[in-house]
């Protein structure tokens, strides 16, 4: 039986993540609020929308930070989505400086509303962007395998992840000259800035890849 555990810490659109997982053939989606549910997961998803601080506070208040860290050590895969990906990082500058889970070294900073030639960028970025994949063999296979290079995914965010090591960047998109990190991976720790559950067929394909890891 294919089971996926989704961390339920009071924020995030859990329903659409569950709907997409079920569509991809998952038999059981568990919304986890406790330590034991998280530690015993086969596959873990950390969803999230909203502000970084609220997300981290949500995890703290429910005492879920330590269980997530321990889960990661089991070697089973974790997928952070949107804010869930950002929280995998070291720290964020959203509404003051806040510490993340520090599972993949990197900072979360605001998307600059001006490009180098002074043209303005709309912030938040809202919409569909084509992924540019990191073709390094080191990552193969990964959740973006079999994705065509033109595949577009849906993103909505004002802050973006800047990985300390280029080796952890799985894909980016180009926002008027800014390479915005769209997916990261360090061993069994994976994060996507986009919403696979809202990215139509391309997104469902990516979720299926996550299920086959």
């Amino acid at each position: 039986m294919l089971t996926v555990t989704v961390v339920d810490y009071g924020v995030g659109n859990l329903f659409s993540v569950r709907a997409a997982l079920e569509y991809c053939g998952v038999d059981k989606v568990i919304f986890a609020k406790t330590e034991s549910e998280i530690i015993n997961a086969d596959r873990l998803i950390l969803p999230g929308v909203g502000a970084f601080m609220d997300g981290m506070n949500g995890l703290k208040e429910m005492s879920l930070i330590d269980p997530i860290t321990r889960y990661v050590k089991t070697g089973n895969p974790i997928l952070g989505i949107c804010l869930g990906m950002q929280m995998l990082g070291t720290q964020s500058e959203e509404f003051g400086l806040h510490q993340g889970l520090n599972l993949i070294p990197g900072k979360v900073i605001k998307i600059s509303s001006e490009d180098i030639s002074g043209n303005s960028r709309k912030v938040p970025f809202v919409g569909w962007a084509e992924l540019h994949l990191n073709t390094s063999d080191k990552f193969k296979p990964n959740i973006l395998s079999d994705l065509s290079n033109k595949s577009a995914v849906y993103l909505v965010h004002s802050y973006h992840f800047v990985a300390e090591s280029e080796n952890h960047t799985l894909a980016y998109y180009d926002y008027y000259g800014l390479k915005v990190c769209a997916a990261i991976q360090r061993e069994n720790i994976i994060g996507v800035q986009f919403h696979p559950e809202k990215s139509s067929k391309a997104g469902l394909g990516i979720l299926k890849n996550f299920l086959s890891i």
């Binding site: 659109n13 659409s16 079920e22 502000a51 569909w128 909505v156 004002s158």
Partner: protein, 252 residues
């Protein structure tokens, strides 16, 4: 960047409806049948608006959205009759990705900040119903284009952006349902005023209207009646956009 092609679904009860100038509503059919059709045609996003909700103080959208979210895997924006942070929470938990707020936000601009703070700006869409008063002045209306507010659209858009709105769906009451094109001056004025994305809504009649909205500064274009009456399809619009060198999402 890719201009979004949005299908706008005005809703009464569980039915898709369409009017002219947001009035004279006509029932088209069960809303989710249309929603699925547009998803399959490749719409980039769906906007559901319960356009009579704020008149009657109710919201029937939660159930519609939770059904839609089982089969439709693109962003869903939901508006109409949202009054409180709890209403927003219910809709997001039902499967909405963003909420569109007009009437309650005008009555209590703090609601916009509260929603943005709790759920993030990315899901706080300001819905503006604008009526042209003079060549450079538009007035904000609420309650489905019925109630004048005395607010200047440009000032309201700026204030709402400061309060944390992450996007604006801008409906011209004058053009809505006429198929005579969008109010381009309005789109230009608002998108020049704010740095958040603006969705053009109200008046699509032919592909040129899409192009002109994009030139005026729209990040996305909402189309309703023209899709509902099958005068065009999402795929037609996408194809025409590519022919005109407007960047739109590639369907793979």
């Amino acid at each position: 960047m890719n201009t979004r092609i949005i299908s706008r679904l005005d809703v009464k009860g569980t039915n898709l409806i369409k009017g002219v100038h947001l009035e004279g509503l006509r029932v088209i059919g069960p809303v989710n049948e249309y929603a699925i059709k547009y998803y399959e045609q490749g719409a980039d996003e769906l906007v559901y608006m319960d356009i009579v909700a704020s008149l009657y103080g109710r919201n029937s959208l939660t159930e519609i959205v939770s059904k839609a979210a089982r089969d439709i895997f693109i962003p869903l924006t939901v508006g109409g009759g949202i009054r409180t942070v709890d209403d927003v929470n219910d809709l997001l938990r039902a499967g909405a990705d963003k909420v569109a707020i007009n009437t309650a936000g005008v009555r209590d601009p703090e609601l916009i900040s509260k929603v943005a703070k709790k759920f993030g700006s990315q899901c706080m869409v300001l819905s503006i119903e604008a009526k042209k008063i003079s060549s450079d002045y538009w007035e904000v209306y609420t309650d489905c284009g019925r109630e004048p507010t005395g607010l200047n659209v440009l000032e309201w858009a700026t204030q709402a952006e400061k309060n944390g709105a992450g996007e604006i769906i801008l409906t011209s009451i004058d053009q809505e349902g006429t198929e005579q094109g969008f109010d381009y001056e309005l789109i230009k004025a608002v998108s020049g005023q704010v740095s958040i994305p603006v969705i053009a809504s109200g008046g699509y009649g032919k592909f040129n209207d899409f192009e002109m909205s994009v030139s005026a500064g729209a990040s996305a274009v909402a189309i309703a009646g023209h899709f509902h009456y099958e005068k065009t399809t999402v795929s037609d619009v996408r194809f025409a956009a590519k022919e005109s060198c407007i960047k739109v999402r590639e369907l793979c």
